[in-house]
């Protein structure tokens, strides 16, 4: 049985085709998000079908997740990102007990029980300070890409303290820090620490190891380290973190699968 999962996130749409019999990912891909998200998702889906040499009729079920999930009308059903990330991460790393997901417009902390069942969760979607949007703002302000930001953060000797709770005001603060001659790497590392601090406040006291970091922001080098420092525990980046939501959606479209090899 082949199932599809589509994660319509705020910054990008991710899709996964999953063979439930072989417990294997057949294809995965992503595209930038835009206003026409259903068309974009459909095009991505078709592209993955072509890549995997499949016809639409061979797909047993399609589940959409992400903030734009309700716009994906060709999906059979929708499931929230909480459930999908939990299933996706559990499939890849069955020992995970806490999942931190930082996306473009929100962040989540998911606590898992045995079997990958969600025990509890917390979400932040009212403030950009704990999300990838903060990094995007900094990247745009400094006119550089994410990779360059991460490289700069690695060079930091003494991360700057970003005290503002609001991204808009933090931007002004960053400009002030740079004007005061604060080294750029320290400012960027300060931004990473600021995001990590917001997420740790969200996590409260329910962080049980092992902690896995997923979502697009997990790809940025230095973010996991920043989280480790504020949470005072090891934070591992989930395999291909940008696809765990789509994988969880695909898993939700098929029969329950055992944890383990997914082909990622």
């Amino acid at each position: 049985m082949i199932c599809a999962g589509i994660d319509a996130g705020s910054r990008s749409i991710k899709a996964v085709l999953f063979d439930t019999d072989r417990s294997h990912i057949l294809a995965s891909g992503l595209t930038d998000q835009s206003v026409e998200q259903e068309r974009l998702a459909a095009e991505l889906f078709e592209k993955l079908l072509k890549k995997a040499g499949l016809e639409r009729s061979q797909i047993s079920g399609v589940v959409a997740t992400g903030y734009g999930r309700n716009a994906i009308r060709f999906a059979d059903t929708t499931i929230t990102e909480i459930t999908c990330h939990a299933r996706g991460v559990h499939r890849l790393v069955p020992d995970a007990r806490t999942i931190i997901e930082i996306g473009g417009q929100d962040s989540k902390v998911i606590s898992l029980e045995d079997g990958g069942h969600v025990r509890d969760f917390a979400m932040n979607d009212r403030c950009a300070a704990g999300t990838g949007r903060f990094l995007e703002m900094v990247a745009a302000r400094l006119d550089m890409n994410w990779e360059k930001l991460a490289e700069l953060a690695r060079q930091s000797k003494k991360p700057a303290l970003i005290s503002n709770m609001c991204v808009v005001f933090a931007e002004t603060e960053i400009i002030g820090l740079l004007a005061d001659g604060k080294p750029l790497p320290d400012v960027v590392a300060g931004v990473q620490n600021s995001i990590a601090t917001r997420v740790s406040a969200l996590a409260g006291r329910f962080v049980s190891p092992p902690v896995y970091f997923t979502g697009g922001v997990a790809l940025q080098a230095g973010m996991a380290r920043a989280l480790e420092e504020v949470l005072a525990c090891t934070v591992r980046v989930a395999p291909q973190p940008q696809f765990t939501g789509a994988l969880g959606a695909a898993l939700s479209a098929g029969p329950a699968n055992k944890a383990g090899d997914s082909g990622l």
Binding site: T83, G115, H117, V118, D120, A122, M123, D125, R205
Partner: protein, 461 residues
């Protein structure tokens, strides 16, 4: 006239109302089609809500939405009007013990921006009066007092201060500075009696030092004198005892209603109507006798539905315990649309749901009840009651809804969630629901849907 229970939107209620009328519906003086509240009072939010289809629910809504009209009528009939602010259920019992006195709850204006979808501009006007969006939406009462377009100016305004919401105190102080004199009374922060200290049992399995109960009783005595002065009649103990018995009649009905609805295998009445019904406990919606009739009607309806095995939300729905009232009533519909149902609630006035002791001197009984207010004690007391009620209602998850700007306790939600998680291990989330939550519906919906999914997944565990 009997129809299977279902939820109707306002358009469907128009047809339903005509059908009920043709079938001989008997209504109270304040009755009529729900639509008229949109046309006459600009309660536009009603167009976005789903309502229960029973005549009993229609009566409840009409009762709620005609409160200002009925208050003006009472004033015209020579009744004295008392605005009772913040205490959530104690002073109204005293006011209604006196003939010709009606109490209302100006704090209730916090729902006006929601019902009128902010078309009334009350919140903006409050901001112009120096109380901005960093305060609770109760601030809507400030311009409502000033413009006289809602409730009549009360003959007496009574407000508790001390261990109450600091937001509310600031708003009420501003009200007084605007020229509305307030009779203040103080309530201390409830604490556990120290070892060896004389203690009193309070409703809700609580206790407080006797010295605190004495303090509140003395304050209530002052209020009693002020009320008696207004009514031209001393508030004697026998009057007060009769008032307590009548209040308890409403509380017993509400208790039966809550038990019947929350403990039923499936919900026989929607969450929205239950929220409105529970609110009657604190202020009687300006008419104590009619409150009893309205609750009696609702109880009869749900008992009939349970006997007939007719429910409005399926037995499959996830059982949710809801903490705090919502600023936007739409949120209660949303929960059910996403597969949840309410199996218990703590709308911040659980002390007004407990029976007032009838075996104590009346003022002593009221003082003990007032001190059992969840807002004047530690959050852990409140959380433990929530835990007990979650267990009684077999709750599968908890929603703590926050009121934007309200600051009864900055960490209240976190404390409640933590205690729930540690003692009964069910998921608990916190949501902020503004007076009109349309822009946040996708995000609110995601959280509620995730909670429902999580609870469902735990069933299969």
């Amino acid at each position: 006239m009997n129809t299977s229970p279902r939820k109707l939107n306002l358009d469907e209620w128009d047809d339903r109302y005509e059908q009920l009328r043709r079938d001989g519906l008997r209504e109270a003086g304040y009755g009529g089609p729900l639509r008229r509240h949109v046309v006459r009072e600009k309660d536009f939010r009603l167009q976005q809500l789903q309502f229960d289809n029973s005549p009993a629910a229609l009566r409840l809504w009409n009762f709620l939405l005609t409160e200002n009209e009925r208050l003006h009528q009472a004033r015209a009939n020579g009744h004295k009007i008392v605005g009772t602010m913040k205490d959530l259920g104690t002073v109204p019992v005293m006011a209604y013990a006196l003939p010709g006195v009606r109490a209302f709850y100006p704090d209730g204006a916090w729902w006006t921006p929601c019902l009128m979808e902010c078309s009334d501009k009350l919140l903006q006007q409050a901001e112009a009066m120096g109380i901005d969006a960093s305060f609770c939406p109760v601030r809507a009462m400030l311009p409502a007092f000033e413009n006289g377009e809602h409730f009549p100016q009360p003959d007496l305004l009574v407000c508790s201060t001390g261990a109450v919401c600091d937001d509310f105190s600031a708003i009420a102080q501003r009200l007084e500075h605007l020229g509305h004199p307030i009779f203040w009374w103080e309530i201390p922060r409830r604490r556990q009696p120290a070892p060896g200290e004389m203690a009193c049992a309070l409703p809700g399995n609580l206790a407080a030092p006797k010295i605190q109960v004495d303090c509140v009783r003395t304050e209530l005595q002052r209020i009693g004198k002020a009320l008696g002065h207004l009514a031209g009649k001393t508030l004697e103990d026998d009057c007060l005892a009769a008032g307590i018995r009548a209040a308890n009649q409403a509380r017993r009905l509400l208790d039966s209603l809550r038990r019947t609805v929350y403990f039923a295998p499936a919900a026989p009445l929607p969450a929205l109507e239950m929220l409105v019904a529970e609110m009657l406990a604190i202020h009687f919606c300006s008419d104590r006798e009619e409150t009893i009739v309205v609750l009696d009607g609702l109880l009869a309806e749900v008992q009939l539905r349970v006997r007939r095995n007719q429910f409005i939300v399926s037995a499959e729905a996830v059982r949710i315990f809801w903490v705090n009232p919502v600023a936007d009533l739409r949120a209660m519909n949303l929960l059910e649309e996403l597969g949840g149902r309410i199996c218990g609630s703590d709308y911040m006035f659980t002390h007004a749901l407990d029976l007032i002791p009838e075996n104590l001197p009346p003022l002593e009984a009221l003082a003990r009840t007032a001190l059992a207010d969840p807002m004047v004690g530690p959050t852990s007391d409140r959380a433990m009651r929530i835990v007990r009620e979650c267990q009684a209602g077999h709750a599968e998850a908890v929603v703590v809804s926050r009121i934007p700007g309200a600051s009864h306790c900055a960490r209240e939600g976190e404390i409640i969630r933590e205690i729930v998680r540690q003692t009964i291990g069910i998921p608990a989330i916190e949501l902020e629901i503004p007076p009109v939550c349309d822009a946040l519906l996708p995000s609110l919906g995601s959280r509620l849907q995730a909670l429902v999914e999580t609870a469902r997944d735990r069933r299969t565990k």
